[in-house]
């Protein structure tokens, strides 16, 4: 009689118990992983951003990035452009012919221009 009752309870609540155990274990696992990540200080993976050079403009002109992100400029104009630090007039990139690209890992916020056409200005802002 007791055995029959136990089997009935088991059949009735078995799936719910299993589900609850899964949820509890999943939560604990997520907490462990989260704690491990935060305690080790790991940063999100670096992102890759693109800036299009077209019509003698950088697009976007201002870009928010994280330190360590990669930025790639692509020249879609028919004339050459380059990337130069605004403060020093120093070229970061070689002259980029039409269709050429240049990539740069960003450490700090910076203002830049096209050294060949100084009216073209852009800014990278590190969050």
């Amino acid at each position: 009689m007791n055995t029959v009752k136990q089997n009935t309870l088991k059949n009735r609540y078995g799936p719910k118990i299993k589900f609850l155990i899964s949820v509890v274990l999943g939560t604990i696992l997520a907490l462990i992983v989260g704690l491990a990540t935060s305690s080790s200080g790991a940063l999100p993976a670096p992102k890759h951003h693109q800036i299009i050079i077209s019509g003698f403009e950088f697009s976007p002109k201002e870009l928010m990035v994280s330190a360590g992100d990669r930025v790639t400029w692509i020249n879609k104009d028919i004339v050459p452009h380059n990337i130069a630090l605004n403060s020093m007039q120093k070229a970061l990139s070689p002259d980029l012919a039409s269709g050429e690209k240049f990539s740069f890992i960003v450490d700090n916020s910076l203002s830049y221009i096209c050294g060949l056409h100084p009216s073209m200005q852009g800014k990278l802002i590190v969050k």
Binding site: G55, F56, I78, V79, H117, P118, S119, M120
Partner: protein, 188 residues
């Protein structure tokens, strides 16, 4: 194709004088509105000739600057004008050749071409700061005039869509050159 290219080369020199005239008109009047009132309606063939000529004018002036100026900024600017306008010129010639448009000058050419010749002749007699100032001052006026002509006459008049799109796409180059020339002008 060769015939069209040869025709372009032959007529380009005439157009150089034509656009210089427009520049001088704008420079003298201090306004760009007069140029649109004085000009006859432009065909695509006229526009093609003006675009080719406009670029050749600046290439020609840049060559003189590269021969005569000793100022680094002026020389860099001249080299930029030569490189950029050559790229725009090549693109324009490629387009009109493909479209089968043979450039045709308008009436301004014969009347006022002399003024452009005089400007280049004047540049060839100058040196040092006087040369740099004359060259850059003219570049400022020239680019203002060309921008005005493109915006007020060429783009509205162009009938072929590709030609119109090309005119729209070259405007930023002329505007960037104007700002660049004004930057140098303020330093001379």
């Amino acid at each position: 194709m060769n015939t069209i290219s040869a025709s372009l080369k032959k007529q380009t020199r005439h157009v150089i004088f034509s656009l210089s005239t427009v520049v001088l008109l704008v420079g003298c009047s201090g306004t760009t509105a007069d140029t649109s009132k004085k000009s006859a309606p432009l065909s695509d063939a006229n526009i093609a000739a003006i675009v080719v000529g406009a670029n050749n004018i600046d290439i020609s002036a840049a060559d003189i600057a590269l021969q005569r100026s000793k100022n680094d900024e002026v020389r860099k600017f001249a080299l930029r004008m030569k490189t950029d306008h050559k790229a725009v010129l090549d693109s324009a010639v490629k387009l009109v050749t493909r479209l089968g448009v043979t450039p045709v000058n308008n009436n301004l050419v014969a009347t006022l071409s002399k003024q452009s010749q005089e400007h280049e002749a004047k540049l060839r007699t100058l040196s040092g700061r006087a040369f740099d100032k004359s060259y850059i001052d003219h570049e400022v006026v020239y680019h203002k005039a060309v921008i005005s002509v493109i915006e007020e006459q060429l783009i509205p008049s162009a009938k072929n869509k590709e030609l119109k799109d090309t005119l729209i796409s070259v405007l930023p180059a002329f505007k960037a050159h104007l700002k660049h020339s004004e930057m140098i002008q303020s330093q001379i």
